[in-house]
Amino acid sequence: MNWQVIISEALTIGLFFYSIVLLLFYIFIGLYSIGETRKYLHKNNFTDYRLLAASEHSPSVSIIAPAFNEGQTIVENVRSLLSIYYSNLELIIVNDGSKDDSLQKLIDVYQLEKIDFFVRYQIKTKNVRGVYKSKNPAFKKLIVVDKENGGKADALNAGVNISNNDYIICIDVDCILEQDAILKLIKPFLEQTQEKIIAVGGVIRIANSCEIKDGKLEKVHLPKAYLPRMQALEYIRAFLLARMAWSRLNGLLLISGAFGAFDKDVVIKCGGYNHNTVGEDMELVVRMRRYMEEKKQPYKVTFIPDPLCWTEAPSSFLILGRQRNRWMRGTIETLGMHKKMFYNPRYRLLGMLSYPYWFFFEMMAPIIEFFGVVVFIIMASMGIVEWPIFFSLLLFIISFGFLYSSFAIFMEVITYNQYKKRTDILKLLLTSFSEPFIYHPFIVWASIRGITDLLRKKKNWGEMTRQGFGSPAIIKT
């Protein structure tokens, strides 16, 4: 056997086993998530969340929303956040050195005045220029922090420093929360007796094409445009299956930066968000877990399946590409920063399963897939592809992908069923058929671009233009 054959065989066998393990993981995740969702639904079947809203013993919560050049939509976004139902709450908007009129708009509309505020820099951040509170008691929950520009992580850290409360909920300012979102997100912190809950994540849904009035979600529709619709399906799969399964295993490594609740004390002890990565949301969760593992304190990062937060998904390939490029860079940076945990038994499930899974199947998957396509093209051009096997394999993978998506839609329908119309479900199913040919290759390509950008040491966030929910009643397309 010459060396070319040896390499070829090694690659083939390696790829074969990689694919088998990946498929088995998907099957496991799909099935394992059922138990967690069922348990959640059963235990909250007759929960009266109003108790938590009214009780003087309910924990105090700060919502922290960083804003950078959000002048077009900031007033409406803050109005939406102020309508959230929870008594022991403060809303901290961090103006991260916006160059537009965001701050002035907030001052004018919410009758803000600069107050004397001693900022405790428990986490190091860029300088806070001022803290504003409203003269109008109707907006007493609102605190606006004006600071020098330092990026999203820095703005979140400034919010943590300003917060007076026990728990923080970090969200994107343009997200629309359900009225009972905080009640549902905070409850898991109160339920555990054996382990400390350090973070809770909630399901994020796509708001494109939904009817939104005065910052509130009036009616849910399936996105009309292809890309947001595809992302709606992708989010259902990710949140309802993958995150629920990882939550059950207590191996969750990511709580989306768009919506997550954290124990403030642990966040501060860990040093807050890291501004050296574009994946600050994942990095914080990994560092918090690592901290608890090293302290040998029993803990859990949990996830709830309620659709609580609605966000606008990118509707153009350009913006989506930038987002996925950033996600990939964030993943690689985070895994790089915590490489010590890789197959390190000291970190138990975190080191032996969660980290390797992210390494092999989240970080490496696009690389392997891209490499596979390149090799395939070369081999095809050399005429050494055995086409019957190729087509069998292709059909096998595509049918498995459809099955996984259908299962996710089935779970959605029997649990929260946000899309009531049968035609919407049908569209969602049809959308899944197009995924392997349009959406997935693009996502792989965007991830590869992320890797190359990282190698070229590009650190930018990537501009995310959004249409916003600014007008009084709009249907977003």
């Binding site: 070829s8 007759f46 001693f118 339920e191 055995e386 096998f396 299962f407 029997i414």
Partner: protein, 363 residues
């Protein structure tokens, strides 16, 4: 990638094709299941809406009926008799009755109980209660106490110590529902931790009940079960149980940080002339969070006796403690404001900012 020799050894197209067919069949099955489910759900929705409307109408008739000899609930309309043969519809109706009853009291609420019994729903609740599935058992208990089935009390008592958290929680709620503050007796025997959610639920439930003395409060404060101590401290705080002041003060030595934190809060609500000095005494051994808690509580009870202590901690390394100490000095000490102003002049950073922060907050 698709090199013939290697790949055909690993993958037989025949097997792959069989698996593909299996996936396609499963997919077809799932898609069919989705649409059958959606259709069923839509149908159920309309049926339930109809039942809800009819029930509300029927109940309002029952509630308005003044016939004592033959109450209106004795006559079940024929359309309901048909509906109530269906398990799902019965379940839905019970939930409706519970929802309606939540907003009612007195004779009207009693009538709902009678209706529940007359329709045979109690039997359904008992079946659920006897189930080995935890969520059905918890639901059964919930229905039984919401519908005031007081004779179930002795049976339910043993479930207050059930291994399942949710069954336990419902049984505890049932006990309090039936016996008020006496229902807290389950705290004497409970082996399992009571989560903060359960504690909150108990405290909120008790708010709706007339207060009666909690004879065992002192014992609960000395319980080996940390969560029982925590709940007892909250009870002492809410109902201002001054007589347990010393027991609460003892909790400042407890090994659990949360218990000590709650003890600090409770002491501030039942404070006497010694409380400030007791808190000051424990300050140096406490965690950062509990130190902050002590300073926060001292705002309601400190005097010039604590001035030296407060000035020392005004110069603590930690900025949060500095700020908290400044608040107490400004609020509780004679010439506190002047003193803070003086320190701010001598050392503007950070004391000038602290001075103005406190001034903005308190004045």
């Amino acid at each position: 990638m698709f090199h013939a020799d290697i790949f055909s050894n690993l993958i037989q197209p025949g097997y792959l094709n069989k698996l593909t067919i299996l996936f396609i069949c499963l997919n077809a099955f799932l898609i069919a299941a989705i649409f059958i489910y959606l259709r069923k759900k839509k149908r159920t929705h309309f049926i339930q809406r109809g039942i809800k409307k009819s029930i509300e109408l029927w109940i309002s008739k029952i509630l308005l009926s003044e016939d004592e000899t033959e109450p209106a609930y004795m006559h079940i309309p024929s359309k309901f008799q048909k509906h109530f043969r269906d398990k799902t519809k019965r379940e839905f109706t019970v939930n409706q009755l519970i929802d309606i009853k939540k907003n009612l009291s007195g004779k009207i609420a009693e009538n709902i109980n009678h209706l529940y019994e007359h329709l045979g729903f109690r039997r359904d609740s008992l079946v659920k209660f006897q189930s080995n599935i935890w969520n059905r058992r918890a639901k059964g208990i919930h229905e039984l106490y919401m519908m005031d089935q007081k004779n179930m009390l002795p049976v339910l008592y043993k479930y207050t110590n059930s291994n399942n958290q949710y069954v336990r929680m419902e049984a505890q709620a049932a006990l309090i529902h039936f016996s008020g503050f006496e229902g807290l007796s389950f705290l004497d025997n409970i082996d399992h931790p009571i989560s903060e959610w359960e504690q909150l639920k108990i405290l909120e439930q008790l708010k709706l009940i007339d207060f009666t003395e909690m004879k065992n409060l002192g014992r609960w404060l000395r319980s080996q079960n940390f969560s029982v101590v925590l709940l007892a401290l909250k009870l002492a705080e809410v109902y201002q149980e001054f007589q347990v002041h010393d027991d609460v003060a003892e909790c400042l030595q407890h090994k659990d940080e949360k218990v000590r934190s709650q003890a600090i809060i409770t002491l501030s609500r039942i404070a006497n002339e010694y409380t400030s000095s007791i808190l000051v005494q424990y300050y140096s051994n406490e965690t950062l969070a509990n130190r902050q808690q002590i300073l926060k509580c001292l705002m309601n009870m400190a005097s010039d006796n604590e001035k030296d202590f407060l000035v020392t901690h005004l110069h603590d390394e930690n900025d949060s403690l500095k700020l908290a100490a400044a608040r107490v000095i400004a609020k509780c000490c004679s010439n506190g404001w002047e003193m803070l102003k003086e320190i701010a002049k001598e050392q503007p950073h950070p004391y000038s900012e602290i001075y103005f922060h406190v001034k903005n907050e308190l004045q």
